[in-house]
Subunit: 200 residues, 2 copies
DNA sequence: ATGCGTAACTTGACAGCGTCAAGATACCCT
DNA sequence: AGGGTATCTTGACGCTGTCAAGTTACGCAT
C-alpha cells in the first residue's frame, strides 16, 4: 500500500491547505500558484478544483483558518486573572503584533482587499472573521467596563477604533513602511497608552 | 500632423501613468496589465518598457504620484487659522478618509506590501512617502505642542500611533471589512477623541 | 460477487500575463 | 547628408487560472 502512489489521495483538501500555508510563508501571496501547489502535493493541476471551486475559494479557506487561529489568540491572551488592565492590554497587543509579524503574508491574505472586496468572501470566512472581532470587542469592553467610560464615548466604537489602531500598526509593519523594529515597540506602547488614556 | 498616428508618441510616459490611473480605478490593482495599458494608449506591448524598467517600476511611479497628492492634502488641510485644534484634526481625518475612499485601489497600491516589501521601492517613492509622513508628524506635533503633553508620551511616537490608527481605519474600510459607512463616521470620530484625549 | 453510479483524479487546450531578443523607424546633431 | 541613438514593433517563451472531456477507483445495492 505504501509507496505506490494511489490514485485517490485520501485527504487532499487538508494536504492542499497545509502546503499552501507553507508556500505562502515561503514565497508570499503572489508566489502561491495552484499549479505549483498541486505539483508539490503530488497531484495533477486540476485535482484541487474538486475540493475548491476557485483559487479564490482556496484562499478564503486559508484565510478562515488564519482567523480561527487569531480568534484563539483573542480569547486566550492575558487570561492570567488578576493582572492590571493596562498590562493585560499591553500583552495582548504584543501577542497580536507577533501573530502578524510571524506570518505576514497570511495576515495580508486574511485582511486583504482581494478576498474581501474584489471577490466575495465565503460564508465560512465571513462568519469566523466577524466572530473573531466580536470576541475582541467583548473582551475589550469587559476591560473597559470595570473602569468608568467618559460620557461621550461608545464602547463598541471605542473597540472598533482600537482595533483599527492595532490593524494599522500591523499593516505598516508587515508592509515594510515602518522598518525599525525597536521603534515599533515604542509606538505600540504609545498606542496602548492612547487606548487606556480614555479611561482616566 | 494630427490624426496620422506618428511612430513616436511624444509624451508616452505621462500618457501611460494617466491611463494607468484610470485602469486602476476601473478594474483594481489586479486588473491593471501592461499589455492592456499599452493597447489603450495605442502603442505596442513593449513600448512601456522604454520608460519603465519593470511593471514594478511603473507601479512605483504611480504610487509616488499618489503620495504627492496625499502630501498636498496633509500640508493643506485645515489651514483656516483659528479653528480649535480638535476641529482641525477632525477635518483632517475626514479628508484623509475621503482620499482613501475616493480611490481605494490607488491607496492600496501606495501602501501595499507588493511595492514595499516583496520588491524594492524606487528611491523617488521612498523619498516622497517619507516626506509625506514627516509633514504629517510635524503638523500633528504642532497641534500638540500648544497643549501640554503628558510626561510619559513622546510626540513623534504619538504621531506614528495616530497615523497607524488613521491608516488602519482606511484599510478596514477600503478592504471591505467594515462596510457600514455611517458606523465608520462614528468610529473615526471616536478615533479623533482618542487622539485628543491624551491632551487633557 | 458483481455491476453500476459517482466522486476523485488526469491530460489537452486556450487565452492572458510579464518580459527577453532582435529588428524597424524616425528624430537629433554634426 | 549621414550616422547615432532613442523610440517603438513583432516574435517567442514560460508561466498562470480554468474549461472540457476522458480515466480510474471506490462504495453501495443487488
Amino acid at each position: 500500500m505504501a509507496g505506490h502512489t494511489p490514485y485517490h489521495h485520501g485527504d487532499l483538501r487538508s494536504a492542499l491547505l497545509q502546503e499552501a500555508n507553507v508556500m505562502l510563508k515561503e514565497s508570499g501571496i503572489d508566489g502561491l500558484s495552484l499549479r505549483q501547489l498541486a505539483e508539490r502535493v503530488g497531484v495533477s493541476r486540476m485535482a484541487p478544483y474538486h475540493h475548491f471551486k476557485d483559487k479564490h475559494e482556496l484562499l478564503c479557506a486559508l484565510a478562515a483558518q488564519g482567523f480561527r487561529d487569531l480568534d484563539q489568540l483573542v480569547t486566550d491572551a492575558g487570561l492570567d486573572g488578576s493582572a492590571p488592565h493596562d498590562q493585560v492590554l499591553s500583552h495582548f497587543v504584543q501577542a497580536y503584533l507577533r501573530f502578524a509579524l510571524d506570518n505576514p503574508d497570511r495576515y495580508e491574505l486574511m485582511f486583504g482587499r482581494p478576498i474581501w472586496k474584489s471577490a466575495r468572501p465565503t460564508a465560512e470566512l465571513r462568519e469566523i472573521a466577524f466572530a473573531c472581532f466580536r470576541h475582541y470587542a467583548e473582551r475589550l469592553i469587559g476591560l473597559l467596563n470595570s473602569k468608568r467610560i467618559p460620557e461621550g464615548s461608545n464602547p463598541l466604537r471605542l473597540a472598533q477604533a482600537s482595533w483599527a489602531t492595532l490593524h494599522g500598526l500591523c499593516r505598516l509593519m508587515i508592509d515594510g513602511i515602518y522598518v525599525n523594529q525597536n521603534d515599533m515597540e515604542e509606538v505600540s506602547q504609545e498606542a496602548v497608552a492612547l487606548m487606556m488614556s480614555v479611561l482616566r
